[in-house]
């Protein structure tokens, strides 16, 4: 009864916090869903590359690749076509190229009846999940497929590595956004403790919330992540392995991948909930205990402010004040950004490492780069996903930090600070935070890269294209920080509501 009342009303009252939490949770669920569906589809892919497929070939006209010796007998006796088994393929030589339509239809009929349809049935699909479009990708393209197949174990090991890295990325984000929510709800929790709420009742209240958030975020995040994976394996054939498998649907969202996604998500929510409950249960019913420690007088603050303003140290001084007041949020944001950047750096090097010797980014031509991307799309996609998840989370944290600073900004305004001066404090804070995050991210990324690839004898190349690839990686974070500062902090500074003059600035700004 009590939990239902609090949950129903709480959702409406704290809807902004709920939306923020849901965004982070749903993004995490999307990430888990993407990873698992991607892995399941990748398994299909590695099976599918060994299945026969039919393609045009400039040497003989048509060819069934991955055929078994003896299967050419099925095509013997078709007028106008000579079928031969050569190098793992059945080659069809048209004896009368001017009248190819009839013979080809006969070949196609047998192909469908004896090869494709049985294979599709064996593959576990009732219907085609995308049209069997014929696509000529060229010899280079097929070569990259064979390379991909050869690297299967390595790829799957790396999928696991990425899964771990992305989980490490998601958990701090989930814990930090929930921590901020608990900070916002502390007065309510304190009141409830004062009234006499039991630990079990408090636990149930937040457990129901966590369960609800999990369900909604799963409902939003799982289709989102699976949808991105589906796009990758079907629609985005231009750069993905799906392009080579037009004949076979490799995308798979099965019970296993769904179950694993739900399990990953639930574990993440339970871990987040455990950390959250530790914080909640540490909240004391006594709300004024530290009022016995005398507050510093407002006049002292005014003097300090005037002194700093006169000495031109305003930005530096209050940037530090603002930083200290939002330590947990800023720390979470910086850690998230650093880990995400490290994943990006690892991804960049993984792509570079897996490229063929002649296709490495030591050359700078379009074909080389496109083949590299296609060949290593797994790493590209996971890297991009990690970066986008982090950017979304970083933006939410920046917004929350700005919102939590509203009162301090109001007090500064009441003390006489102008909009530009206050924004300069935030700008300083952002620049400093960004510099630390980038440095930490690159350091961590290269430490992991060298650690993982050392055994493989990987040496970081010093080439212009490789070095240039770091610019967009770092640039996207700087751009996100700039947009965050402009929108979140800028908005707070523009909508200054002056606080009560003389109200003491809470702890954190002491020299």
């Amino acid at each position: 009864m009590f939990e239902k009342l609090m949950l129903g009303r709480g959702i409406r009252y704290y809807r902004r916090s709920y939306v923020n939490i849901l965004c982070v949770f749903a993004a995490a669920m999307a990430m888990f869903s993407f990873m698992n569906v991607f892995a399941a589809s990748l398994l299909n892919y590695t099976e599918a590359v060994e299945l026969p497929y039919i393609t045009r070939d400039w040497t003989c006209g048509f060819r069934i690749v991955n055929a078994v010796p003896g299967q050419e007998e099925l095509f013997r006796g078709i007028p106008g076509v000579r079928a031969e088994f050569e190098n793992g393929s059945i080659c069809f030589y048209l004896t009368d190229p001017e009248n190819a339509a009839g013979p080809w239809e006969a070949v196609e009929k047998i192909w469908y009846e004896k090869f494709r349809n049985p294979y599709l049935a064996e593959f576990g699909v009732d219907d085609e999940s995308f049209p069997a479009l014929y696509s000529y990708v060229g010899r280079d393209g097929r070569d990259t497929i064979y390379d991909y197949d050869a690297h299967r174990n390595e790829i799957q090991t790396n999928v696991l590595l990425f899964q771990s890295a992305l989980s490490v990325l998601a958990l701090p984000a989930m814990i930090a956004i929930c921590g901020e929510y608990i900070a916002e709800r502390t007065p309510d929790i304190r009141t409830l403790c004062g009234i006499g709420i039991g630990e079990g009742q408090l636990g149930r209240l937040f457990f129901f919330e966590a369960g609800l958030l999990y369900l909604v975020s799963a409902a939003v995040g799982i289709p989102l992540g699976a949808g991105i994976a589906a796009l990758f394996f079907s629609g985005a054939r231009g750069i993905g392995p799906g392009r080579s498998l037009a004949e076979y649907p490799v995308f798979r969202m099965d019970a296993g991948s769904l179950g694993l996604t739900l399990l990953f998500g639930w574990l993440a929510v339970v871990l987040t909930y455990a950390v959250m409950m530790k914080k909640v249960l540490s909240i004391d019913a006594a709300y004024t205990c530290m009022e016995t420690v005398p507050n510093r007088r407002a006049e002292r603050h005014r003097d300090l402010y005037r002194k700093k303003r006169t000495s031109g140290q305003f930005d530096r001084f209050f940037a530090e004040v603002l930083r200290k007041r939002g330590t947990s949020l800023l720390l979470a944001r910086d850690v998230l950004e650093s880990v995400s950047l490290a994943v990006g750096v690892f991804s960049l090097n993984a792509v570079n490492y897996l490229l063929d010797e002649d296709a490495r980014m030591t050359g700078w031509n379009r074909d080389s780069v496109m083949i590299s991307l296609a060949n290593n799309s797994l790493f590209v996609m996971l890297g991009v996903f990690a970066v986008f998840f982090s950017l979304a989370a970083v933006w939410i944290f920046t917004k929350r930090h700005a919102e939590s600073m509203a009162e301090a900004v109001g007090i500064l305004s009441a003390l006489g600070a102008e909009e530009g001066e206050i924004y300069a404090c935030f700008r300083r804070l952002t620049v400093r935070s960004q510099a630390v995050s980038l440095a930490a991210g690159f350091a961590l990324g290269y430490a992991v890269t060298l650690g993982v690839f050392e055994a493989a004898g990987y040496r970081i190349p010093v080439s212009l294209p490789y070095l240039l690839a770091h610019v967009p990686l770092a640039g996207v974070y700087c751009l996100a920080a700039w947009i965050g500062a402009k929108t979140a902090y800028g908005k707070i500074c523009k909508n200054i509501e002056a606080g009560e003059d003389g109200e003491p600035i809470p702890a954190g700004e002491e020299e």
Binding site: L5, R9, G194, E199
Partner: protein, 225 residues
């Protein structure tokens, strides 16, 4: 047997390298049906004392007994259940839950006990405090005086034996202060034990017993007839 008994209560707060002694060796007894005021300057330890008496805060040392039961010996769970049944607490800043209406705020302690208070009992309580027509409003739609009455109603909904009020008129004007004190006096006449922390002489004057606290120690006591 006194309804409330404190023996050698000491409370220290540690703030960085500093240790602040909020209360130093406080002992007192409150008899059932008393209306007592605790007064003293800011930072003297009044609120800390009240919170220790109500079981919201654990003392560094000493013993607190309500109706003969030692609060310090209770588990957190049992202490919460005991407080819900026996203690009503009125906060200085009302501390109403902002997402709930006045009616729901009043009902919360009963709901925590798994009981939904009847509409009649809620209405009777609200009428006794003059807020019967404000029950469906949210705290943000109520005046300071109305919020405080809702807070008092919430403290009374489980019919506690002892009511604690921390500066209940601290945020109210003199007219509303008079109204709130009238409510407390009426409750006391009906036999309720009430303890009020205040630095308002008018509020203290309405109480039969006044304890003066200074630097964490009881510095004097007045009992009017």
């Amino acid at each position: 047997m006194p309804i409330l008994e404190l023996k050698h209560i000491r409370k220290e707060f540690v703030s960085g390298p500093r240790t602040v002694t909020a209360l130093g060796d406080v002992s007192l007894r409150i008899e059932e049906g008393e209306m007592t005021a605790v007064t003293g300057p800011s930072g003297a330890g009044k609120s800390t004392l009240l919170q220790i008496m109500a079981g919201l805060l654990k003392p560094t040392s000493g013993e607190v007994k309500i109706d003969g039961q030692d609060l310090g010996a209770m588990s957190r769970k049992r202490s919460a259940a005991f407080r819900r049944k026996n203690v009503g607490y009125v906060f200085q800043r009302f501390n109403l839950l902002p997402m709930l209406t006045a009616r729901e705020n009043i009902a919360v302690p009963a709901l925590l006990d798994g009981v939904k208070p009847s509409e009649e009992s809620l209405l009777a309580l609200a009428e006794s405090l003059g807020i019967e027509d404000r029950l469906d409003h949210f705290p943000s739609e109520l005046s300071g005086g109305e919020q405080q009455r809702v807070a008092i109603a919430r403290a009374l909904v489980n019919d506690p034996r002892i009511l604690f009020a921390d500066e209940p008129t601290g945020n109210l004007d003199s007219g509303t202060t008079g109204d709130v004190m009238e409510v407390f006096s009426r409750l006391n006449r009906a036999g309720r034990t009430i303890l009020i922390v205040t630095h308002d002489p008018a509020v203290a004057g309405a109480c039969r017993r006044v304890l003066r606290i200074r630097d964490g120690k009881i510095g004097g006591e007045e009992v009017s007839s």
